[in-house]
Amino acid sequence: MSSSTPRLVRTAQSDPVPPAADRADPTGPADAAGPTTPRTTPNENGDPGRTGTRARPDVAGRLFAMTATGAGATILVVLAAVAVFLVLRAWPAMTASAEELSEGIQWFPEGQTLLGFVGPLIFGTVLAAVIALVIAVPLAVGIALFTSHYAPRRIASGLGYVVDLLAAIPSVVYGLWGVVWLAPRLYPVWTWLADNLGWIPLFAGPASQPPRTVMTVGVVLAVMILPIITAVSREVFLQTPRLHEEAALALGATRWEMVRMAVLPFGRSGLISASMLGLGRALGETMAVLMILSPGFTYAFELLQAGRHQTIAANIANQFPEANPLGVSTLIATGLALFVITLAVNMAARWVVSRRKDFSGAN
């Protein structure tokens, strides 16, 4: 008994890792002070001869709790600082009249309000990112499933390594590659699309040459976000409990049926998170878009035509060097719009994940 008591005390105090569900919660770090509370355990054990163990301060535990809380708070502070900066600096543009904007800023479209200016930019940004996601997510899921459940281990690790390498390529290199190498090779594809599927408004021709279009940008963005989505979903798929896979196989599922029954449902929320990470990158990507896209400010759905779209990030990079104070403020206002879109998308994704929380397998 006397030998087991101190051990009990130590495990109670030196177990500062909160449960996984808490760690995923942004408020988690604040709860990290919790693990220090079971200090009363030795008292409850009714072992008065051992009160010495109770008095020993749990320095490591405290330090950990403080560090974790601090780290959590830092994120919130940074986020708030960015939001405050954006709102403060965008304020002059948001309060300026249409005349002030078009007179004060050389590149501002004549007679347009700020909203009328930001609208097509938001549209272009979301459009390019959505194209990228539509191309990248199925491909990433395919690669992730192949590496996690189909490929022999040697091939799988090699492929995983190559995919991770893709993430290390700077975006300016992707931009160069897109303009110099990919775009000319995509042109025949886009022409074919316009000729054969042109009756779908999205692919209405004629396909622009050179194809500095939002579609080409979408393809390059897809390549850029592929590694992050693949890597995250591969890890999630690998986490599928063996029990669930065996349950499916024992029912007479083929490998693909097992994947559909056990792996994909289990990885669903992780896949959504991975897609959001990719979407975030696609929404904010600047350099590659700037280098490839021929800009335009319309709400055009014709993906194969150049000079129709522009993204917020590329527009900021394009105009910023020569912008006057009001121009900078306008650009920051568009940045604020991007910030809000990203937040909204992430919140929507969280909502989608939490809607079927009971079925997530986390309980």
Binding site: A247, T254, N363
Partner: protein
């Protein structure tokens, strides 16, 4: 629908390591056969060869024959997926699909075998399978709740319902009660006694009282030492095995002097 299984000269390998050697036995239809023995003696491995689930582990292979009503499960042209649809399995830990509701869990295997099933038939099958697993009265009001919302014992019965919903010939149970409390264990044991009217049941258990309570025949496996393959020592009627076993090793094990 229950079928006899004849196993002859069965060796199981993991890579070059022989895990189980020279097993030969006959498993009678409509009966419960218990496999007992110390940890690592290969009884679970052997059980998994009866529905080719051992093949899930890379490098695992089998030599010998397993005849189910005269058909060799390891014959060329036999699809392991088809074998598993005939031979259901219940695992050590309850494993309902967490992303599916209770009803969807029951229907999971059926939807694989026969994609088109009318809503009425599906409802009937859910009810009959859950009744068959003695779970219907406990869950009939919450069939659309996740399977993971049930208690451990209920989850295990849900897994049994899922296994019998596809109407297999044989039901394999790999220590089905080892993660359950005594009351849930009793519920599963009662259920097994009912199920043996329709199915051939093979159960691996570490609990010798359980083997004595539920099984008709008992097979005792043992292992001579680390790195040696597990072997079948003897198999007989459960009553005989627990009263007058012919082998000294069996007597040592069931009387608690070994393992």
């Amino acid at each position: 629908m229950a079928q006899r299984i004849d196993i002859k000269d069965l060796d199981v390998y993991y890579g070059s390591f022989r895990a189980v050697a020279d097993v030969g036995m006959t498993i009678e239809p409509r009966s419960i056969t218990a496999l007992i023995g110390p940890s690592g003696c290969g009884k679970s491995t052997f059980l998994r060869t009866l529905n080719r689930m051992h093949e899930v582990i890379p490098g695992a292979r089998v030599q010998g024959t397993v005849l189910m009503d005269g058909v060799d499960l390891y014959g060329s042209g036999v699809d392991p997926v088809a074998v598993r649809r005939q031979v259901g399995m219940v695992f050590q830990r309850p494993n309902p699909f967490p992303t599916m509701s209770i009803a969807e869990n029951v229907l999971a295997g059926v939807k694989l075998n026969n994609r088109r099933i009318s809503k009425g038939d599906a409802n009937d099958l859910v009810e009959s399978s859950l009744r068959g697993a003695n779970l219907w009265n406990e869950v009939k009001d919450r069939l659309d709740r996740p399977g993971s919302s049930l208690s451990g014992g209920q989850q295990q019965r849900l897994c049994i319902a899922r296994a019998i919903a596809v109407k297999p010939q044989v039901l394999l149970m790999d220590e089905p009660c080892s993660a359950l409390d005594p009351i849930s264990t009793l519920a599963i044991e009662d259920l097994m006694a009912e199920l043996k009217d329709d199915y051939t049941i093979v159960i691996v258990t570490h609990n010798m009282q359980q083997a004595a309570r539920v099984s008709d025949r008992t097979a005792f496996f043992t292992i001579e030492g680390t790195g040696k393959p597990g072997r079948l020592v003897e198999m007989d009627d459960t009553r005989t095995m627990f009263s007058t076993p012919t082998q000294q090793a069996t007597e040592d094990y069931i009387s608690g002097r070994f393992g």
